[in-house]
């Protein structure tokens, strides 16, 4: 019994790893108007996505000045904030996205050190 269970989990794990290369990413970038920080963030996120998630990501940039209600609903505190809605778990990456390594960690593309 125990052996098979372990086997199963191991199989599942390997399967998951294989799949991770195909999973779709749903990302939202919340910015506050056109500030240098916002612009930098947009550029950086786009670049990283193109490099690592080409063809399987969906990125939406939202200006919370325009939609303040979303700030409350999405628990936005800092700006800019990149939210990885899918795949789970949900992650928030804040800042101007200048630290590429940390973004990759945040997107679960690199294991946490």
């Amino acid at each position: 019994m125990e052996d098979t269970q372990i086997k199963y989990t191991q199989e599942e794990f390997e399967e998951a790893i294989a799949k991770s290369g195909e999973e779709r990413y749903v990302l939202r970038l919340y910015i506050t108007g056109i500030t240098p920080k916002s612009t930098r963030a947009i550029l950086n996120v786009k670049k990283i996505c193109e490099e690592n998630l080409k063809g399987r990501y969906e990125l939406e940039v939202i200006d919370i000045y325009q939609q303040p209600v979303l700030a409350k609903d999405q628990q936005i505190i800092a700006a800019p904030t990149l939210i990885k809605k899918l795949p789970l778990p949900l992650r928030r990456i804040i800042g101007d996205m200048s630290d590429k390594e940390r973004i990759l960690v945040g997107l679960d593309l690199r294991p946490k050190k």
Binding site: T32, K37, A78, A79, P89, R92, S98, R102, I103
Partner: protein
């Protein structure tokens, strides 16, 4: 401390925003600085969130100032549940757009920091909430949680500074709460940014008793009370009661009220106590202090006045039962709502809390007579000076309201009777001393008036009797052997009666003796008189006889002369003189 009307401007002209929290507006001389952030700090569980929430709810309900509550710790649901017990319906207020709740949730594990950022998100949320309901008040509870969620302290500092500046520009009156740090007011130095008004809450344990206290640490540009004030959280929210010695400015009354014991009224210049005075009854155990107090309560209720009875020793039912045994029935008064017995063990709260609680009850019940039975038990929860200061403030508080207060004080047997533990006798206007008088193997109760300001009072000791019909005072026996009471008095009185009777008998006896003697003398007088009369008669007879003899003699002589034909020279009849000459 001055109580002032709504939206008061203090001397400097600083606009104030009334909190609506009982007592806090008095301490802060009108409320929090309007349009500025104030910091409320304190350690965990001392009531920061509640104070902040009450500030918003009161603002929304009483002053029509909607408010935003931004919570960094509790969810709106939790908040609503927590304050529902205080009668605040947050859901209703939110629905009516009187309040907006925003829960800021920060999960450290979810967050990855990548370079520069700001807290504009928070600003936008706050701004949106404020604008959507036209908020005038804002609470940030506890903004320091940000430090737990975000790692970059440099950014946080700068952003918080910006946030407080922004709040000022926005013109909202904000309350920011902060957790108390080691040696500092807040853990992350929030007091650096919020410098207009800082209120410190404290929850101290002394001798296993917790007391909540509030202090205005700083209030720029305004007068404020500087003391630590105890406060209470109960089913009606927070009450801070700034009971300090207000001074001796209270009005005095010339009205006199009965003590409930007619004879005692007589001793107190015929009329009883002064209204609004403080009365102390001290005595050793079992001397009838509570009974005297109950008589006073009964008398007050008979006059139709409300009486609040603080019992620190007995349960209400026990008091009622015990007093019934001496013919005082308090139950009808309780049913009528004229009497309220508030019984509590002194150790349940700290001293300050008792004072706050009492003041609160007095404010609510509005009695004209207050009884505290006994004050001695309070020493268990405070030092002598603390108790004295508390009682002084209580007395001032009562006097200012023209409430007559009666305190009982248990003096220790063997100790000096004319001494109270706390040296409070100087605070009292009337001081009665009940004491045991031990004579002839029994104890009896005696009552003195040690002092009574402003009236001519008796200096006599009276024997104090607890009868089936209440308390009676009777004169003690004052004799050559000193003051006697009880059966000794009765015995002496009987003795007196006997000797009195005997003396009367003796006098009676003597009287009878004298009467007898008098009668005997009278008899003698009668005999003598009879004798005297006899003698008189005899004398009369003799005179008569002599007269007759004389006449006969004259006749005879005339005859003789006639016979002798003697010559009569002068007149027909001889004169008496002549006759005598003849004789």
């Amino acid at each position: 401390m001055t109580k002032e009307k709504s939206n008061v401007k203090s001397m400097e002209g600083l606009p104030k925003c009334q909190t609506g929290i009982r007592g806090l507006d008095e301490i802060t001389d009108g409320g929090l600085p309007k349009g500025r952030p104030s910091l409320v700090c304190g350690s965990a569980g001392c009531g920061k969130t509640l104070l902040a929430m009450e500030f918003l709810v009161r603002g929304a309900i009483q002053y029509n100032e909607p408010g935003v509550f931004m919570s960094f710790e509790e969810s709106p649901k939790e908040l609503a549940q927590n304050v529902a017990s205080l009668g605040f319906d947050l859901n209703d207020l939110t629905a009516r757009k009187k309040m907006s709740l925003d829960h800021v949730r920060i999960e450290r594990s979810e967050i990855e920091e990548t370079g520069e950022y700001d807290l504009e998100g928070l600003f936008i949320r706050l701004n949106h909430s404020i604008d959507s309901i036209g908020a005038k008040r804002v609470v940030l509870d506890t903004i320091e949680s940000l430090y737990g969620g975000l790692a970059n302290e440099g950014i946080l500092r700068a952003e918080l500074r910006r946030l407080f500046r922004w709040l000022k520009e926005k013109g909202v009156t904000a309350v920011v709460t902060g957790e108390r740090g080691e040696g500092t007011l807040t853990r992350h130095g929030l007091e650096e940014y919020v410098s207009d008004c800082v209120i410190l809450l404290d929850n101290r344990v002394e001798g296993q008793i917790t007391t909540r206290r509030l202090r205005v640490v700083k209030y720029r540009g305004s007068l404020h009370g500087t003391n630590e004030y105890p406060f209470l959280i109960d089913e009606k929210g927070i009450s801070v009661l700034p009971i300090t010695s207000i001074g001796l400015q209270h009005d005095v009354s010339n009205e006199r009220i009965s003590s409930g014991i007619p004879r005692l009224d007589t001793m107190l210049g015929e009329k009883g106590y002064y209204r609004g005075s403080s009365i102390l009854i001290s005595g050793t155990a079992g001397t009838g202090k509570s009974s005297t107090a109950a008589s006073f309560a009964d008398a007050a209720c008979k006059r139709g006045e409300r009486c609040l009875y603080f019992a620190f020793e007995e349960a209400p039912n026990q008091i009622i039962r015990n007093m019934r045994s001496i013919g005082i029935d308090l139950e009808p008064w309780i049913k009528k709502g004229l009497l309220e017995i508030y019984a509590v063990r002194p150790t349940i709260y700290g001293l300050e809390m008792h004072l706050v609680k009492m003041a609160k009850l007095i404010d609510e019940f509005k009695p004209r007579v207050v009884i505290i039975d006994p004050i001695t038990n309070l020493i268990a929860i405070g030092s002598e000076t603390e108790v004295k200061s508390m009682l002084a403030r209580l007395i001032d508080f009562l006097k200012a309201k023209q409430i007559t207060a009666l305190f009982t004080n248990l003096s220790h047997a063997g100790g000096a009777l004319e001494q109270t533990e706390f040296g409070i006798s100087s605070l009292m206007d009337t001081w009665l001393l009940l004491r045991d008088i031990e004579i002839g193997g029994e104890r009896n109760r005696g009552l003195y008036i040690l002092k009574s300001r402003g009236m001519a009072h008796s200096n006599q000791i009276r024997e104090f009797l607890l009868t089936d019909n209440g308390i009676d005072l009777i004169d003690v026996y004052l004799g050559p052997s000193g003051v006697l009471t009880g059966s000794a008095r009765a015995a002496v009185e009987v003795q007196d009666k006997i000797s009195d009777l005997m003396r009367k008998e003796e006098i009676e006896l003597k009287k009878r003796e004298l009467e007898r003697q008098r009668k005997a003398i009278e008899g003698q007088i009668a005999v003598l008189r009879a004798e005297f009369e006899g003698k008189e008669e005899e004398e009369n007879m003799l005179t008569q006889k002599e007269k007759l003899q004389e006449e006969t003699d004259i006749e005879a002589r005339k005859e003789m002369a006639h016979i002798r034909k003697a010559d009569v020279s002068t007149g027909n009849e001889p004169t008496k003189k002549g006759r005598r000459n003849i004789k």
